[in-house]
């Protein structure tokens, strides 16, 4: 049923109903689209993202125990497995988010119901072949010591039998989320740009992108203009004070992990006071016009009533009784 709706209409509906009656804050339409499209690839990252959302409408949903088959690299060892060929519809890809140096074991396991017998298995990263670390009759794994960015990427295990099946593991740094693609602010007002990461980065850096150049924002140099706040371990705020038209543009927040960097771009739009004032005055004018119309109509109909009363009195030809209040 929902599949028959267009995406845009679904977004409106989602907004309408996430906020309606639930008393909670809506999920950003942009982010939910991303979530939904990723769900094919990795239903588990979505689960994690939902759990990590600290400003959800009901804190209760976070407390519920959600099974997470995929782990973040909080410990120093991560294990991940893909079942091949798997049930139809199950993704043959896994996204593993790593922030710190970890030992990773990736395994491809043969489904016991599968008809494939003793296939030849190769592990590859790009064009480079990697030798197995361990091998059994139905599972093949490699173990990697991921200590820097060079080891990140996509690793695939290829099973060659009657047909070729492959499972892919994507090793990535945690993605950054923001409230939206752009932030609207007004002149002489202050704006806050927010970036949130899935894991704790070593450092946050903010850039302003003008043209093709990236200018680092140094809060200590311009303390009356910029304020970079590390609100919590995973969240950073860039507060821009006394905004002017020149501050409009694209800003970029960068999270530095041991294993790489993640970036996100947010656009700041600066409006003048006149921008909302026009619709405001239009609505006020509409209200005034309607009020005047209603009052005039009422006065007119009251006068008409009085006229008919007078006419009736004259016609019935009886002693005058003042019935008018």
């Amino acid at each position: 049923m929902p599949a028959t709706f267009s995406r845009r209409r679904l977004e409106w509906l989602l907004l309408l109903l996430c906020i309606s009656l639930s008393g909670g804050s809506p999920t950003d339409p942009v982010m939910t689209t991303q979530d939904a499209s990723q769900s094919q690839v990795n239903p588990l990252t979505k689960v994690q993202a939902r759990l990590n959302e600290s400003s959800g409408p009901d804190p209760t949903t976070q407390d519920l125990k959600q099974p997470s088959k995929e782990t973040m690299s909080n410990g120093s060892f991560v294990q991940s497995e893909i079942l091949l060929p798997g049930a139809s519809g199950t993704p043959l890809e896994r996204i593993i988010t790593l922030a710190n140096a970890t030992t990773v074991e990736l395994s491809c396991k043969l489904d016991t119901n599968s008809h494939l017998k003793s296939p030849q298995v190769t592990w590859k990263r790009g064009n480079e072949t990697i030798s197995h670390t361990s091998k059994t009759e139905s599972s093949w794994s490699i173990r990697l010591a991921v200590v820097d960015n060079s080891k990140m990427g996509s690793y695939s295990c290829i099973l060659k039998g009657e047909e070729e099946i492959s499972g892919v593991f994507h090793l990535q740094v945690p993605k950054i989320e923001a409230r939206g693609k752009f932030v609207i602010s007004y002149e002489r007002d202050a704006a806050v740009l927010l970036c949130k990461s899935g894991a704790t980065p070593m450092a946050w850096t903010w850039y302003m992108i003008s043209g093709s150049k990236q200018i680092v924002i140094n809060a200590s140099l311009q303390a009356d203009k910029y304020l970079i706040d590390r609100v919590s371990a995973n969240v950073t705020h860039l507060r821009i004070l006394k905004i002017t038209k020149e501050d409009a543009g694209v800003y970029c927040c960068e999270a530095t992990f041991e294993l790489g960097k993640a970036t996100l771009e947010i656009e700041l739009k600066v409006l003048s006071i006149m921008a909302p004032l026009k619709p405001f005055l239009a609505v006020v004018a509409e209200v005034v016009i309607l009020l005047t119309t209603i009052i005039l109509y009422e006065v007119y109909s009251k006068r008409k009533e009085k006229c008919t009363v007078l006419i009736k009195e004259n016609m019935s030809n009886k002693p005058e009784v003042d019935l008018r209040f």
Partner: protein
């Protein structure tokens, strides 16, 4: 039950004509009052970041707004009793607008609490009660339909306000949106301007005029003039007698009728509704999270709520039409208790629905039950206490309901947190509502029987051939009396009398 027309309101309500315009205005007003807090939550994330506060701190804004809207009921009632509906609604609309416009320039969360929470909340309170009250003034025979239509304004306004808010936020940021929302709320003033005052003075002029016109043709002018003026003038005589011996209780009762607490029907309604609201709003709040918890994706979970809203929108006027039919109207209290119990049963059965189809069916039935209850919420109170005392009754009821309305979702949330399972919340809500429905059913059965008994006693007194004066006194005692006349008997008797008057008053 319809109270005897002349003695309760002092005039015959038009039941149409300008009344439908009033219903339209009331639906706008009621729509804003109920949906604005919900639609406001779209700004939470932004405000959290701007003021560096937690979710619960920003959620206080809407909590304060809701609490002020319901808690401001008695003040609203006092003002309506004193000044009438129209000035109060227009002032309320102005207050809402001023509140939101000033919120656009706020620099701290405390200022936001005051501007958005208190000022706008109070303005919405001044919108909600008078809108409901004026329907009782304009309608009698078709009152359930009018109530159903007016309450249908809430889901319609929600469907428009929610996307509008998002659009404003995307284009103007939160400050610009607050400014424009303030202007939009000024439309409540327009709705208020439609609430033309109607009362004994204006209505009786018309009846006198038309009666005069008719009777002068027959030449019975003097006698008829005396006859027509007596019902209206004798109450005034009694009033002056009363005023001589008034004490402070009477004076307070003039503004806010505390003697309602001795009214049997009012107490039944109060207890039943206060109990019902404990489990009324919580399931809506937790429906989408519950759906996601059972593994349904976000879009489908949101779709459940849209099914609920659409069914709700259709159910409200339909319930009004059903409640107005001649089989249901005399027994409308039973219909109300049935719909509450039906609502509760839906919640009790919800945990059994684990698949998406089951939840869709649940949403549909829940929307239906929700609409039924909302449409009849105020109609049943009007039915019990009568339109003239409804002004004070609605104020007292809303302030009592205020507590349980605000407590309901947090209690549900605590249950979910403690047990880690949504089903206990649904069971609690369902049980509370079934209990409320059963209580109302039994107590209203008792109430109907007592009313029938009192009607019999009143009739026995009337048949006493002592004097016309006694009869007049008896009729005037109705005006001050706390008990109302039996439901089954009055509408049938008055129907013929009302029909004659209808032609005269249906001018505007």
């Amino acid at each position: 039950m319809s109270p005897p027309v002349l003695s309760d309101l002092g005039y015959v309500p038009p039941d149409g004509g300008w009344g439908w315009v009033v219903v339209f205005g009331a639906s706008i007003s009621i729509g804003f009052a109920y949906t604005f807090p919900k639609a406001f939550t779209i700004y939470f994330k932004e405000l959290q970041a701007v003021y560096s506060i937690s979710y619960s701190q920003i959620a206080w804004t809407t909590s304060i707004m809701c609490a002020t809207t319901y808690g401001g009921g008695p003040i609203s009632s006092i003002l309506v009793n004193r000044y009438g509906s129209r000035p109060v609604v227009m002032f309320g609309g102005l207050l809402c607008g001023v509140g939101m416009i000033s919120a656009a320039f706020c620099t701290s969360i405390l200022q936001l609490y005051i501007c958005v929470g208190f000022i706008t909340g109070f303005g919405l309170a001044l919108n909600l009660q008078p809108s409901v009250i004026i329907i009782g003034r304009y309608f009698l025979k078709r009152r359930p339909i009018a109530n159903g239509l007016a309450m249908a304004g809430s889901p319609v306004m929600l469907c428009t306000l929610a996307p509008l808010n998002q659009f404003l936020f995307d284009n103007f940021g939160w400050r610009g949106s607050f400014l424009i929302l303030g202007a939009i709320l000024l439309n409540c003033c327009v709705a208020g301007a439609l609430f033309r005052p109607i009362g004994a003075a204006t209505a009786s002029v018309k009846t006198q005029v038309t009666e005069e016109g008719k009777n002068c043709l027959k030449g019975k002018i003097t006698e008829d003039a005396l006859e027509m003026s007596s019902p209206t003038s004798v109450p005034m005589e009694n009033k002056t007698e009363e005023e001589g011996g008034k004490d402070c209780c009477e004076k307070i009762n003039q503004y806010l009728d505390f003697s309602l607490f001795k009214h049997r029907g009012f107490l039944i309604y109060l207890i039943g509704n206060v109990l019902m609201f404990l489990g009324f709003f919580a399931p809506i709040v937790f429906l989408a999270p519950y759906a996601k918890h059972t593994g349904i994706d976000e879009y489908s979970a949101a779709f459940l709520l849209s099914i609920l809203a659409i069914v709700d929108m259709v159910a409200r006027p339909t319930t009004g039409i059903i409640a107005n039919s001649k089989w249901v109207r005399p027994r409308i209290q039973y219909f109300f208790s049935f719909s509450i119990a039906f609502n509760g049963t839906c919640h009790l059965l919800c945990p059994l629905a684990s698949s998406y189809t089951g939840l869709v069916v649940y949403s549909g039935f829940y929307g239906l039950a929700f609409g039924m209850v909302c449409a009849m919420l105020f109609e049943t109170l009007m039915d019990l206490v009568g339109a003239s005392r409804f002004t004070s009754a609605v104020g007292l009821v809303t302030i009592a309901e205020c507590c349980t309305i605000l407590l309901g979702p947090p209690i549900g949330g605590t249950l979910i947190d403690t047990f880690g399972d949504y089903k206990y919340m649904f069971i609690k809500c369902g049980a509370v509502m079934v209990l409320a429905g059963t209580f109302l059913f039994i107590m209203n059965y008792y109430n109907y029987r007592m009313l029938a008994k009192e009607e019999k006693e009143r009739k026995a007194k009337e048949e006493d051939p002592k004097s016309v004066r006694t009869e007049n006194e008896g009729r005037n005692n109705w005006n001050k009396d706390t008990t109302e006349v039996g439901p089954e008997l009055e509408p049938l008797r008055e129907e013929q009398g009302v029909k004659k008057e209808m032609n005269g008053t249906n001018e505007v």
